[in-house]
Chain length 288, copies 4
């Protein structure tokens, strides 16, 4: 492994910069070329590269939280680049290391002692007048939803060309198993083991109380049609991209051809993670 990309989240402030500098020093001392994106490199007084040059890297280090790692999806996903998450706070579902065990972990990774866990990605497309006007890639979920000021929307959800259900509500989540512990969970969806080859369609606040999350094969082609012309509708991918939708737009979501590669050093069972993250942190969350 000669070339490593380092992505960090400058919004973590001085802590992120400090650890990023240490990582750079550590990796360069071991003869590795480290690529930084230009807009992040400047925070470290370094020069960076554009996104296309990242393809040279053999590993991507994501320094931040689960959100930072999610932001690497559109970069690492199409390249099939393995991603190792180093968490600046508490370990999450996706990040594998924290600052305390960072060097021990990197040691192992540089020695090739790691596993790669493949996770399904979704690609979402906005179709307008027969053309793809926008495309997104995501690891957790695509959401077709309404804005705070807009009225409830009426949607039709199709699976493989056939109407599965229609409803009025706040929106619909199309989530991977990885995303089943994120927004879909908040909206009442089941927890899905990442080894299950499925997607879950979770309605958000449906008026028709009859709706329940649907688990469908991950080979399904999902289409969402806006049945009413409500302003303020958006497609969001992993919570960080918002694409305004027009009345006649159709959103098409399917599993992306490549899987996302998470670098794994420890065997942490999915069920342990669920307990640790969802339950313990969920608990702390709601205490004053």
């Amino acid at each position: 492994m000669k070339c490593i990309a380092l992505i960090f989240n400058p919004s973590f402030g001085e802590k992120a910069l400090k650890v990023a500098r240490e990582l750079l020093a550590y990796l360069e001392a071991r003869g590795k070329e480290v690529l930084l994106l230009a807009d992040q490199a400047c925070f470290l007084g370094r020069s960076g590269v554009g996104q296309p040059e990242i393809k040279k890297a053999e590993l991507l280090l994501s320094l931040g939280g689960d959100g930072t790692l999610l932001s690497t999806v559109s970069l690492a996903g199409p390249l099939g680049l393995p991603v190792l998450g180093i968490n600046l706070g508490r370990l999450g579902f996706l990040t594998e290391l924290d600052v305390a065990n960072m060097y021990a972990g990197l040691e192992a990774v540089l020695a090739g002692k790691f596993a790669v866990e493949e996770r399904a990605l979704l690609e979402g497309r906005v179709i307008r007048e027969g053309k793809v006007v926008k495309q997104v890639l995501c690891l957790n979920e695509c959401v077709v939803g309404r804005g705070a000021l807009s009225r409830p929307c009426r949607l039709e959800v199709r699976v493989d060309g056939q109407c599965a259900f229609r409803f009025t509500g706040d929106g619909i989540i199309i989530a991977t198993p990885t995303g089943s512990t994120a927004y879909s969970f908040s909206a009442g969806g089941p927890i899905i083991d990442p080894q299950v080859a499925a997607l879950v369609l979770t309605p958000i606040c449906p008026h028709a109380f009859v709706l329940r999350p649907f688990v469908v094969p991950d080979s399904s082609l999902i289409e969402v049609l806006l049945l009413t012309s409500v302003t303020g509708m958006c497609l969001t991918a992993d919570g960080h991209e918002g694409i305004p939708l027009l009345a006649e737009d159709r959103v098409v979501v399917k599993r992306y051809a490549r899987s996302f590669k998470l670098v794994r050093l420890f065997h942490r069972s999915f069920y342990c993670l669920v307990r640790d993250k969802l339950i313990s942190q969920g608990l702390e969350e709601c205490l004053p």
Copy 2:
């Protein structure tokens, strides 16, 4: 009863205008003075009045749907003016007549043969730097929520000055029993008989799955604090007013001093209404 206000929803189009004209003719033929709001009167080629003059009326006719009736709340609520809903489509929870039985119903009302059902109203206030910067009145619910593009918000909900719970999610609904069959229902809240003197606090898509709707006395003072500075947060009242919130704002909600007066001509049981509206229409909703 000498003076009647007529509110209609011009967005129902020609149908609304036609019925409004017929109602005007009917009422004026019976010697009633009919007040129209200036911005609606123009659709009928009549001259109208400003909101303050409505206080002269002894009855308000709402011509449209449940949404139209909700829009009369800020006008009729403070005046304690009884409201009779005439539905241009299918009967709702709040409207008492439809076009088919409109004249028979009005006959009874003009003869004084009607009951008045009192429903709790909520007043919501936005407090900024110690001052009330905005005030709303609503019959269904106040919602403190996030926009489609914004991140989940972290809120603290206080009841009578004491922290009841904190959570991260899409928002919080403070609903009356009347509103328990509206947005609160979609978000998972219980159905509350309007005779119960209670409010329900229903979290929207809480990350902390531990949260459940809370039913509190309707004498409670509810405060919502924004714990994180998320852009795009809003206070919405009955789904039709959106007030942008700033980071340090506090939203205070309590039962309004006066009740809302619904004119009732028939005894339709609350449980029948729930079955008819929530179930039957909920069903039709989701069929293609």
Copy 3:
């Protein structure tokens, strides 16, 4: 206060006996007459009294957990006898003292320094061929439910003589606000502040997914009819009485004329209790 009844749960074993002996000594040293039920007194080598003699007491001490306190309902409820719960384990929703602060608490109580919190009780009646064949009193909930081996039951639930809903499922819970944090909560019901004058009707595993908990005035008369003849149906009260039901039986539940009197020494907010008990203990519950 001259006469105090002491109820303890012998299934807590030696710990219960030891504390019971200490309490006896403490109270008798202060000149109080202590009444024990005959079937518990024998564990302490004392002679006890029958249930009718308890009416002489001015206070009932319940030594055990929330379950022990629930078991005093049929005794203390009709007498309007104030009940003070001393928990042998962790504080619950209903018990006010634990062993650590027991004497300080009793000191205050004997000095008359305590508040009494009134909680709604339910009385459930089984009507068979026009006659009341069984009657129960409960603080949490009445449940009409099926057995593990029996098929789902079909029930009609009436409120004040009118059919509210029918459904097929595992049963129906009629809970007080006190019971809203017990079985009703497990079945998906809302949390209800004990100050709200309401009951909640919570269906258990309804086939018709359209059902949601209903919150009704606590003045309502609730009737449950068995629409199918399923063997193994039971009425249970506070989880500890099981009354087999026959096909034509009708179960009638309403608020009992008297309230249950909980002795309160501390002001612990309902919301704090909910967080402490439901959340913290709920969490510990599911961790290995």
Copy 4:
């Protein structure tokens, strides 16, 4: 196809007997050997065979409802015998024909014009003192649950040898995708397309509100341990077998080696079935 087994549900009464006689005449007129089980044959004045002889059949006709078809699972499942359901009432999820289109359907089947849809089966085993003391086969679900009179049970659920979660409640459902629209649905589980290779673990009325249904790979080995010694616990398979459990018992559930073969003549989409059965019938269910 020379030999066909016919199973019918005598509890449907004269209607079942009449159609069974017609089917016998129809099939025998076409030169087919028809096998009846001895305990059903007697209702038709015919002689029947024991279960082992059924293995000679190439097709099993199930005459009754979805419940009747479920009762053929332990017979047809191990033999890999295709099952065609003829519904005496309304079409269900599993039955393919009703009386109206029965002959047209059989014509097609005898001409070999049919598809076979493979559905996952579960085998459940009760392990007592290291030995398998009981074994069940089911198409919908295995349930480890408590009786109406018994207290809530405390269970540990293991997936592939590892503790997934512990909880106190009414029980746990381990369902196939086929069963996701049955009891698991009533208990709050998601709807799972039968093409997804998964099982769902759905807790029944968990005290720890933190639990949510878990979707796991259908290759998982599920173990349920009773953590408390509660009397009245049972294992039930497809709702019609109840096996009493003892305190130290362990229930092991996994996908059965063979799939269940449903004969399909029409292409009815899973989503249409869900709408028709769950929604329409669910609706009718709860109306008086």
